[in-house]
Symmetry: C2
Subunit: 436 residues, 2 copies
């Protein structure tokens, strides 16, 4: 029976078997020890027997080992115990020197990112790197549970689409048995269509953007968390998103506090209901405080996004803020404008720690209005195969509905406190990178 590193403290003075990777090696003559890494963490092994020490000579970090030995309580060791008098079996020796050191923190400076990704699977064995993706796995699980608790059904919608879609130029195209297909930029139409069936649906799946920009925010492929729900209004959507962010933050911090502290981040301050500020008010506040003039602008500047998050943290006790009252002129054709003020969209953007992490909006659910908006706003043709089936579904009777899409990587980035969304992506893709 194998024992995991995290469990050895429950086997004090017993014989155990550990399987894992050589993570650190100190053969100093007097005091010889190694650290072995398994999926649960590290275990320290003290070695005195000469023949056992000899087995480790020439072995590089990453070698796969089996260790049988006695567990001795030792507060200085990771996990509060270490293994002594081990019998070591080398399962797979590694003799080539690794290209990067696994036991030391790896630089995330922008000039080092290419190295980080070039040797990605080596680097990920560093526990600080591993932590990012353990946290990401937990974020994803928390969000799914939140969807389930709220009676959502999971759906799987196609990413291979007929040529015409909602988006503009930033779409990948491919040959599909002689016709042109595109890669989905979002499951937008499909999730709306499925509201007519399940009322509440979610999907967590890759989406594709042919973004020709190499920034800290853009990737050509990312994991989109999409939710859509019927019989709601914009306030329900805000309540839902407030609950989602609170749950994720609470659960991730409960489980990974030591790892998060290792990244020098703090637990986000979030009230139960995240506060809302209309865009015009943000423009006014920002202009006044910064001796600039953004009043009347149709969007927030990146500087304003950062500033209003700082403001909300200081004055509203929240590191997240909803921005409401976006201009309707900027809407997509399937979005809904406010009943009381058709110049404004039924939309809220959720800003978190300086950036937008999701846009939530209500959709136009009246078929006649939708057709008009398609023609007027998008110049679209209802018979276009990219619209036809979406419109067919909207014609079948659709309740008031709305939803959101959120990038898993960006949310991870903000929770861990990383500079670049790619640092929160196992194998990032951008205009310059298609490997590993």
């Amino acid at each position: 029976m194998r024992t995991l590193a995290r469990d050895i403290h429950t086997h004090i003075d017993e014989q155990v078997t550990i399987n894992g990777w050589l993570h650190k090696k100190r053969l100093l003559g007097g005091l010889n020890f190694i650290n072995v890494r398994d999926r649960s963490g590290l275990v320290q092994v003290l070695i005195q027997e000469k023949s056992e020490i000899e087995k480790l000579r020439g072995l590089q970090i990453g070698s796969v080992l089996e260790i049988k030995g006695k567990v001795i309580s030792d507060k200085r060791a990771p996990g509060g115990a270490e293994i002594r008098e081990p019998g070591i079996t080398v399962i797979v020796p590694v003799t080539d020197e690794p290209p990067i050191e696994v036991d030391k923190p790896i630089s995330h400076k922008s000039e080092n990112l290419d190295t980080l990704f070039e040797y990605r699977t080596y680097g990920l064995r560093n526990l600080q790197e591993t932590a990012i993706f353990q946290i990401q796995s937990k974020i994803c699980a928390s969000i799914r549970n939140y969807f389930y608790e709220n009676d959502f059904k999971e759906i799987h919608t196609p990413k291979l689409l007929a040529a015409a879609t909602e988006g503009g130029a930033e779409v990948f195209k491919l040959d599909y048995f002689g016709q042109e297909a595109t890669l989905a930029q979002s499951p937008q139409f499909y999730k709306q269509m499925m509201v007519g069936v399940f009322e509440r649906v979610f999907e967590i799946a890759p989406v594709y953007r042919a973004e020709p920009s190499a920034t800290t925010r853009h990737m050509t492929e990312y994991t989109s968390i999409d939710g859509e729900m019927g019989f709601i209004d914009i306030n329900d959507l805000k309540t839902f998103l407030s609950g989602l962010l609170n749950k994720v933050v609470d659960e991730v911090w409960a489980k990974y506090e030591p790892d998060l502290k290792r990244w020098n981040t703090t637990k986000p301050i979030l009230p139960k209901e995240i506060p809302t500020l209309p865009m015009s008010e943000i423009h006014e506040k920002y202009s006044k405080a910064n001796n600039e003039n953004t009043v009347g602008e149709l969007d927030l500047r990146p500087d304003e996004e950062r500033w209003i998050c700082e403001y909300a943290k200081k004055h509203l006790g929240s590191e997240a803020v909803f921005v409401s009252d976006w201009p309707a002129s900027d809407m997509k054709f399937y979005h809904k404008s406010q009943a009381e003020n058709p110049d404004l969209a039924e939309r809220v953007d959720l800003l978190f720690r300086g950036v937008e992490i999701t846009t939530g909006s209500m959709r136009e659910n009246h078929y006649g209005v939708l057709i008009k908006q398609l023609k007027n706003k998008a110049g679209g043709d209802p018979k276009d195969p990219g619209f036809k089936y979406f419109l067919q579904a909207m014609q079948a009777g659709m309740p008031p509905h709305g939803g959101f899409g959120m990038g898993l990587e960006r949310l991870t980035q903000k929770i861990v406190g990383l500079n670049n969304v790619k640092e929160a992506t196992l194998f990032p893709r951008d205009i310059n990178r298609l490997t590993p």
Copy 2:
């Protein structure tokens, strides 16, 4: 406050508000009633007031309604209660006649499948169709929970890959800012690479196959459930897969028994440990029983797969069976052969109700052997960008590991008892279909 259809029996003699879709309408003069569908099911509404009946004239199925009324216990009604003396609000009227009837079972005969998919979102509102995808959502949730219970981490790996990959011709290609990219046929290399980090990883995500065939088994896009684990042998993998299939079947049947019975299927008979038969034994048994000769063949014929499943059901008390001892000549370069008999692969296929639902196999974890197999079996070049990073990871020290990939749609198909995998896919993709 809105009440859901499934909850009205807890509000007997109370006033409630129901939101949903007009699902069935019977205005017969003497007895007037409608069924309203929401995400939880149907509720029956008895209407006597003339002015309320008038509101429904000309309204088509699918119209979005709000019903306020009193709940009366009635055993004949769905859910054991119905609503009487309703006040009806038409939220969104549907006046165009739906292209297919939603309240009657929809034919799944092969000649009707095109119609089924052409009007997919209408058809999915039929409760028998809805059930398939409620079951699928549950299958997916059960499998994820099984992964979590077994200490797996969820990963998200790229589907946009550099040109060269493991596969043959059946790969989609696209222009990626001037270079050629391909769509991932599986996360194979990435999940193996991540075993070096997390030991146990899973991913549930789309994969792409440029299959030029229009069969009941092939799609160009499907949802692949991929698991990979380190420090295991082939028996651990079999135990894991036995547990997975048992858990899914138990949980899905516990929650959706009435729906499954509606599809005329039975609960699969599965022992805790699914039995294993070597391929040679299957050939012998099949040849003897069917007066054919498949002995010595390197694969199972589709007829044999069906036959051996019937045999296992009858004689081994299992509707699933592992097939072991596949010829090593058929292996991919990253597969492992048996230590005691290098002519055989460390592989088991899991057959379930007549078809293979997954192939589980051990991977070659010794870098030197792997390089040899790449050159000899696949004629591959270790410096090829499609192999380079995979090999880099395998060089970093990899434990014995293995895993499997399983199509969510095929598993759903077999559990529900459908003929064609596309019937278990919301919006299927094949050589002839890129919409809806």
